[in-house]
Symmetry: D2
Subunit: 335 residues, 4 copies
């Protein structure tokens, strides 16, 4: 049976969700709730057969709605998701999942008790690029991992209810958590607020692990240029994932070094090795299309989603620790 | 009268110094000391008229030598510079100036007492790009400064006696100190050692100032790609300085934001402004050529160099604080 | 009153037309004709309120349809457009307008006799980039024009009924005709057929004008990389229009040369001048959105479209001459 | 025994030749002739042990000189080379070898009669990139070759005695001739003179072969940007050789198409195939260093150089035919 879906929020990201649900096989009737009249009119014009309403409660309470998709500001995620789950609806929540790890845990428990699907929209892990990188890591193409360095900067857009860390870092942290399942032990965050909004607009995160693997994220709303680049260093190979490249988003470099210790000498010798570069073919289908189809499939067959509640919780735990570190002036905070 | 110059060290950087002194007007006879026979042979072949010797002491003690240029490992800088100054010779030292701020101060005092020129080879501040950026800042083209974010990563080259911070950060810190004369109050450094050499090969520095200006450097010896990029954000404009671009190394973006507070409302409104991009013409002469000519001029006319002992000291103070923070697990350390 | 629109063809480009008409203010009820069942199903799913039919004649003969949009293979353009005009419908035709200049002229005459709007979908001239370049040329920012060099290459897509010139060159020729209103006097075309399809898949066009201005297009279906770049040289400035750049698609270079003749000397002296580069802000709205709104406006107020029949005819005349030159082994053919 | 070398001309390219001969093992004493006093002074300062003279005849007539290297304007190549060969000296000539094919043939004969090495400085074929591409073609990595498309454009530098074809095309034609040994049957050239110098400053060459392989060169002295890019299409793979890339100059794309003919149908079906991209490691040593060493080796052991007289002649034959085509308004001219 087709899954009837109600999307709450038709702002920045909502339109992409609605469009994909409208075109995905297995998705049935479509609802959309949006408080702003002009956005509502746009939704209705684009999707004349959808039921476009002002009040999200109409979706929450309509027994015909099987699944609720939450594309509203972060501060509303928990309340909406909780209500949807209590009303027996499957839930797909935009990132980040909620404002606290405790809230995330409550939602996970609630979904489990009611045998409902709870999924978080960590779109990036459904991209052809991240899936290809995951394969490379699974087959140990890179050897031991040394570091993960991501830069995600551009001009705007300010979210009014969160800072740049809560806005942008969920992307990098979800990619990182997907690629490197070990949780970091500590996180340090630093940043600055230049607009006087009370939220940092430039921030740096450092994630410390049990071993010498190091992860770092540069997040910035005030950059003149848009950069979306991740470097991953390994003992056998290294890679660059540049999401701004129109093609060849992932480049694998057969480069590395070898340490030799000369007998009787104090110094170690480090020799560098430079080889070919290789850009594997990447699937180019829209990630959200895959993700939405995956959600529908999980709902229909009660499967565990790739980006389920546990993933959403892991990301929020990191964000919470980052906020704590930020308040503590950049000190390392245990995750 | 021409200035006779003795260059100590013909390794990685020495050849560039020797070549420039050989061609600079006002530079006279040339000496070069190098311990490795093959490097010495190369120096002699390239500069058949130079006096190429094994032992640096021959330069130190030769009364015909007016100025000594030190292009040896960091650990030898202080001893060599001190001796040269005591012997009445002007000194140009490769970066970083010395291993401790105390040593730098001693050299500064010694030079002053003997009325000798003491200059540090912070080459970047003589590039057309950095000089152009300095002009832009001097005329407040960027408005209030928000942040300075630099990335300096590549594969190798390991310095055996220093870590990646002492090897690469002097470039960024000298550029930063040149552009933003205020000293930071605190610095935090974090990094990791993946080769087991005892030196970090990936590191991040964060520099905190009295106001909300924030500086950050990413330094990495294990990157598959070479990146040399600085972002500078300001209230009126922002710029990108990409040293890997063959031309248009500096791009100024007429982009920014405005904060408006709506009466009676809790939220502030942030509006972004996007305008033209502009790449000023940059002088393309080799920076080291300019710098060497400047050193010769300072020696001849007893001028204060643009990158004198004080600049070298400032950079070393930052490096020392960074090392202290690294040891303290990334805690902020007062500069 | 709203304009009711029937789109014929839901293949490669049709979906973009249908989507834009569906969302454009002033466009009313929507029809779509498509012969392939799976494409028809897709159209209906995306536009549940549109009347999706198999047979284009239903659109042609429905008196409720005010305007017909033709997005079918080139060989069908003339027949469909003629019928639509005879049935009193306004017409928007995909590029190229028709297979011969004679057909184009017939359509122009027919539209004029029946007081109907006839427009050709030369999308590029509605892009922010081309409109900005047009402004630069209108204000003589570039001085006298020297050359127009375009490269439009990628892998595929083969049109089965036309060669690479008729497939790709309409873009460049419409941009060129828009920027440089003078018609060339002669055109030379050369190319090669590597697939044995009877159509050239790699081709070069050279357009000769009355003065020394020179235009050239490289068209290629067999390129490993996608390039969409135009160089325009002028006596005062030069520009690069790179459509693959995510931003800064147009870059103006304050570069040129000056010729001075030294008295009593045979040789002239050519001095180069290199100045700043400047990337004007470009409007980023989708070109087709603007174009569709323009078509609706022309229909409602009987305005002459920016890319009317005359523009479509000019492009087809150039294509016809190019084909004649290609047959004649690359000889110049009068336009 | 070491080869004593006299370089004639210390203008744009001469300094690179002198520097390389000064450092190449097997090269002995060095002479340099240059008519301009300031250039002569520079040569002497850089190479204090070289014999720097005003009059080239001193080199021609000095029996100690074994080999003459000609780095003067094209119009002087033949006279100087002829004299050198008559005087029993080996010769290395800058590109293009001479002004006519007849002159080239005379020099070849003269060298043969006197058992002397005659080599042309087609530097590009000694680059790591071109050597790597040659290997790829030799092992048929690209399958059947479809086309060779080169773009070599920048701002300046005008050669006063030749046009842009004779200045820039020797590079592309020598690369092409090296990679594709078959000579083209016909060549067509078109161009324009915007400076009134009597020489074209923008030009396009098309080279026709016996089969459907097609070669094309875009040459331009009036481009705002510097482009040095070659596309090579093949039936199995395609490649891009971008000389402006700091690394990964050669990228091989596993892309192509397959033609299938459906029974009973008129149309052939063309399917595209997109696979990985691969950038083989390229040797980064300076090409001229290799070339100079090769010349010395050829002289010492009487070897036939990789870029001997025959190569120089082939390039000049193409240039002559291009000039004839240019005069004939772009008509194909037999080579």
């Amino acid at each position: 049976m087709d899954v009837n879906v109600g999307v709450i929020g038709y702002g920045y990201w909502g339109p992409n969700l609605v469009r994909n649900f409208a075109e995905t096989e297995g998705a049935g009737a479509l609802w959309c709730a949006e408080s702003q009249p002009d956005r509502r009119a746009l939704a209705q014009r684009r999707h004349p057969c959808a039921t476009v309403v002002e009040d999200a409660q109409l979706i929450m309470e309509d027994p015909a709605v099987d699944a609720v998709v939450i594309a509203t500001p972060v501060s509303t995620h928990f309340t909406l998701a909780e209500q949807a789950l209590r009303n027996g609806k499957h839930v797909l929540i935009s990132k980040p999942m909620a404002q606290t790890a405790a809230e995330c845990q409550q939602l996970i428990d609630l979904a489990q008790q009611n045998d409902l699907v709870l999924m978080v929209d960590h779109t990036y892990i459904y991209t052809g690029a991240v899936r290809r990188i995951k394969e490379l890591l699974t087959t140990a193409e890179l050897g031991d991992l040394y570091y993960f360095d991501s830069v995600r900067v551009n001009l705007g857009l300010f979210q009014h209810d969160v800072d740049v860390i809560w806005d942008l870092a969920p992307h990098d942290l979800s990619i990182l958590a997907h690629l490197v399942p070990d949780m970091p032990r500590e996180i340090a965050a630093t940043g600055a607020d230049h607009t006087g909004s009370g939220h940092v607009d430039v921030a740096y995160l450092t994630l410390h692990y049990e071993n010498s693997f190091l992860a770092h994220c540069h997040l910035n709303w005030l950059s003149p240029v848009k950069v979306r680049r991740v470097l991953v260093g390994g003992s056998r190979r290294m890679l660059v994932y540049d999401d701004m490249e129109p093609s060849e988003k992932v480049r694998v470099y057969d480069r590395g070094f070898q340490v030799t210790t000369r007998e009787g000498m104090y110094n170690t010798l480090v020799d560098y090795r430079t080889g070919d570069m290789w850009a594997p073919k990447i699937e180019t289908r829209e990630a959200l299309t895959l993700e939405v189809a995956h959600f529908i499939e999980c709902v229909r067959f009660r499967k565990a989603p790739l980006s389920g509640g546990a993933t959403g919780l892991a990301v929020v735990r990191l964000l919470e620790a980052a906020s704590a570190s930020l308040k503590a002036g950049g000190q390392r905070v245990a995750v």
